[in-house]
Symmetry: C2
Subunit: 172 residues, 2 copies
């Protein structure tokens, strides 16, 4: 399945690390690309590119000054638009429909998401209705979409590879 | 099951938001308490307490200047020590053993985890062996322990409660 992430309203310095975590979770859990809007941040792009260079895979990061243009572009390309929000319907209730889609744009908000994002989305889904973290919400959503298989596919063919170990650190 | 979280080496201002997300995921996904070491941060404690006050539940946050004392104390109280690390064995391979424990101290590191944490832990487990986020790793681990039931138990009896909605924001 093709899954691209749209991270809204990136703010400097406030979101530096959270957006990096969002991007790395997207990559590690099987998405192909992240697009972020808000403030341009070459540090974020460099961090993600450095991880890809060392740890492998073809994950991409891209900036757009207009989330509306991105949503519109993806709609034209027949992507299903899925917005993660604590106000949405439970992910577990929507997951079978979402899994039947072939191409998904997964929108991850920040604190104040514009109303049109709710309206433009095909699905507004929540990972619990308690306040927690967009990083966790993204991880759980991708985990449900891929039914845990993303935890098995951990070899991205990178220069660095870890050998799982009961005590300590080992590399392949 | 009783699950307490130990967040290591909190650094200001670098970890402010990540540690807040760790704490909120712990609360939303069914843990009872978080203890953090590193730098003391009353802002972190206030954020978490404010969430509990408005959104309900009995989640606690506590500071300790010594993670070693905390681990030692929990070991004496027969808690099983589970350390989340990208170098560990896959969570899916260890989960049935972990689920058989009654009391767990779940350790969440930061960038450089001291070697003794690996040795003192009963389980060193990983959520993929790719670099991503301790927030995501915590969410997936709690989700596996509770087998997704934490996504159903979203009413903490707080002053604020959300009514899940397909389009927009609704409160109970």
């Amino acid at each position: 399945m093709e899954i691209h992430i749209l991270r809204l309203s990136h703010r400097l310095p406030r979101d530096e690390r959270i957006s990096t975590h969002v991007a790395l979770v997207a990559r590690a859990f099987g998405a192909q690309k992240i697009i972020y809007s808000g403030q341009h941040d070459s540090g974020l792009e460099d961090s993600v590119s450095r991880i890809c260079e060392r740890w492998g895979g073809n994950f991409e990061i891209e900036y757009s000054s207009s989330y509306k243009q991105i949503i519109s572009k993806y709609k034209k390309q027949a992507y299903s638009i899925v917005h993660l929000t604590m106000y949405g319907i439970p992910v577990q209730d929507a997951i079978s429909k979402i899994q039947s889609e072939k191409k998904i744009l997964l929108i991850i908000g920040s604190e104040a998401v514009p109303g049109d994002v709710y309206r433009l989305s095909d699905y507004n889904i929540s990972v619990t209705n308690q306040p927690h973290s967009e990083v966790a919400a993204l991880a759980i959503t991708l985990d449900r979409i891929f039914e845990g298989k993303e935890l098995e596919d951990t070899d991205f063919g990178g220069k660095i590879r870890i050998k799982p170990s009961a005590k300590g650190k080992e590399f392949v």
